[in-house]
């Protein structure tokens, strides 16, 4: 009977973008159990609804996470607008989709670079982030900030972007898309990438559905589901097919995300060409009274915003259920039986955004 040792993974680890601690019970380099431990970034943001009124709370909602920040702001605004019955103008909807797809593309590119860095391929990491810089320049030109966009507002968007800037940005995105195709070929064909990713971190189709996984973790196991098909914001005018792979391993999840980057870059160009004219803001009246569950698609999966208002200027409850929080049980299942050297890679394949998961 071989001996079991407990090895702590994290909270500081070169592979992780954000701190998470996992205790690995290891027997001869094979992991038998994994016990996660949270709480490093818990800021209690949901309790701030008591102090800040519902308009100011947009700034807090945007700053829940740095990587997926725009969609948090957009989801909060959508939930409150539904409670207050505000119809926002179509140009605002199209601009929101423009920024949401930019957010998705830059988040996935950052993830692709971190994955390449995790198995030591630093050249590929630098190339992915070089393309990401073009997208961050587009974001800075249209919204004013590289990471925190600051353009979510209840009733529309804060800043208008004129059509010339949209055309120029669409051209920059088109050139970035052409460069990205070459990098996708490296991920798809290279021998060293495949030998590190194929067959690692298996998550069967039934397990993925039962454990509540969402996003590319679910789509990489063969289940076709995408919250953008519901048709919120301007998605009802765009045709989106969810990208599904059936191999159920890390390589499948990686390819799902890379295809989603190409899909997002195409969607950005389509939206920039089709944005209608009109105002970008509609002033909401009164205070929110009622409750609503809003569902959106973040880069990491499906996110739920629950907003409950009681007729005063403070909301009575705001709850975010982020996709990383839903993927944690699937992560624990995937870690059982793997080798010690693959733990970092498997944690990265669910795209851990721990500051979202803990708020």
């Amino acid at each position: 009977m071989s001996e079991r040792t407990v090895i702590p993974f994290g909270p500081q680890h070169p592979v992780l973008p954000e701190p998470i601690h996992i205790d690995l019970v290891v027997e001869d380099e094979h992991v038998k159990e994994a016990i996660p431990s949270f709480g490093f970034i818990h800021r209690g943001l949901e309790k701030l609804v008591e102090k800040k009124d519902f308009n100011e709370f947009t700034y807090v909602a945007e700053r829940v996470c740095g990587i997926c920040s725009y969609i948090h702001g957009m989801g909060y605004c959508q939930a409150v607008e539904k409670v207050m019955n505000v119809e926002i103008p179509p140009r605002a909807n199209y601009l929101r989709v423009f920024w949401a797809e930019l957010s998705r593309a830059h988040s996935h590119l950052m993830w692709a670079g971190l994955l390449a860095d995790a198995f030591g391929f630093e050249n590929l990491f630098m190339q992915c982030w070089r393309i990401r810089e073009t997208l961050l320049d587009v974001i800075e030109e249209t919204t004013g900030g590289r990471v925190i966009f600051g353009s979510a507002k209840i009733g529309g968007v804060r800043r208008d972007v004129d059509n010339e800037t949209l055309k120029r940005c669409a051209a920059k995105v088109a050139s970035a898309a052409v460069e990205f195709e070459e990098i996708k070929k490296v991920f798809r064909d290279d021998y060293s990438v495949k030998s590190r990713l194929c067959g690692i971190g298996m998550l069967s189709r039934d397990n993925a559905w039962e454990l509540g996984a969402v996003g590319p973790t679910l789509r990489g196991s063969g289940i076709s589901t995408d919250t953008r098909l519901e048709g919120y914001a301007a998605y009802r005018d765009l045709s989106i097919t969810p990208i599904v792979e059936t191999a159920c391993d890390s390589y499948a999840r990686c390819m799902v995300r890379l295809h989603e980057i190409s899909q997002s870059l195409d969607l950005i160009q389509e939206v920039a060409a089709r944005t209608p004219e009109g105002p970008v803001f509609e002033k909401p009246k009164g205070y929110p009274n009622g409750e609503y569950f809003a569902r959106l698609e973040q880069p990491r999966g499906e996110v739920i915003y629950y907003v409950k208002g009681n007729g005063t200027k403070n909301l009575s409850r705001f709850r975010v259920r982020t996709p990383t929080f839903a993927n944690i049980p699937a992560l624990l299942h995937m870690l059982q039986g793997c080798e010690l050297a693959d733990v970092g890679l498997i944690v990265l394949t669910i795209d851990p955004c721990i500051s979202c998961a803990e708020r």
């Binding site: 431990s37 949270f38 709480g39 818990h42 209690g44 949901e46 309790k47 609804v49 008591e50 559905w209 039962e210 454990l211 509540g212 519901e230 048709g231 919120y232 009802r236 205070y287 609503y292 569950f293 569902r295 499906e302 739920i304 629950y306 409950k308 009681n310 007729g311 005063t312 200027k313 403070n314 009575s316 409850r317 709850r319 259920r321 929080f325 839903a326 944690i328 049980p329 699937a330 803990e358």
Partner: protein, 125 residues
């Protein structure tokens, strides 16, 4: 199209039975949420295809106890541990129990005091 929000009001004694029915029909557990008002208002959300439905139940603020659904949906352990640490709700039969160490906060049960401090009618309308 965006599905209708259907909220079913149930009792805490029916919870396990209805969750079993959802599991048998193939629904996915989406989230478990609690709101502090004059009682704890719990929302259990499920989804399948294009439907999105919720169970709503109320439990008292003093000594809140609920049966755990980790036997049926193992993924619920994360939500139930978080609710235990932040609201003080105890779950019977929790399979992976952190006993209060899931989120380490300096104040125990920080969200259990009322979330709406300003009562209706007193705000500067």
């Amino acid at each position: 199209m965006i599905p209708e929000q259907v909220i079913h009001e149930i009792d805490s004694t029916d919870l396990l039975e209805r969750t079993q029915i959802m599991k048998r029909e193939g629904w996915r557990l989406v989230q478990i949420c609690a709101t502090t008002l004059d009682a704890f208002e719990m929302s259990y959300s499920f989804t399948i295809d294009n439907r999105f439905e919720h169970f709503r139940l109320k439990i008292p603020l003093q000594q809140p106890i609920l049966p755990s659904i980790t036997e049926i949906y193992f993924g619920a352990f994360a939500y139930e541990n978080e609710l235990h640490d932040l609201f003080g709700i105890s779950f019977q039969g929790l399979k992976l129990d952190y006993a209060g160490n899931f989120f380490k906060t300096s104040v125990k049960k920080p969200f259990a005091t009322s979330m709406c401090v300003i009562k209706k009618g007193e705000a500067g309308v």
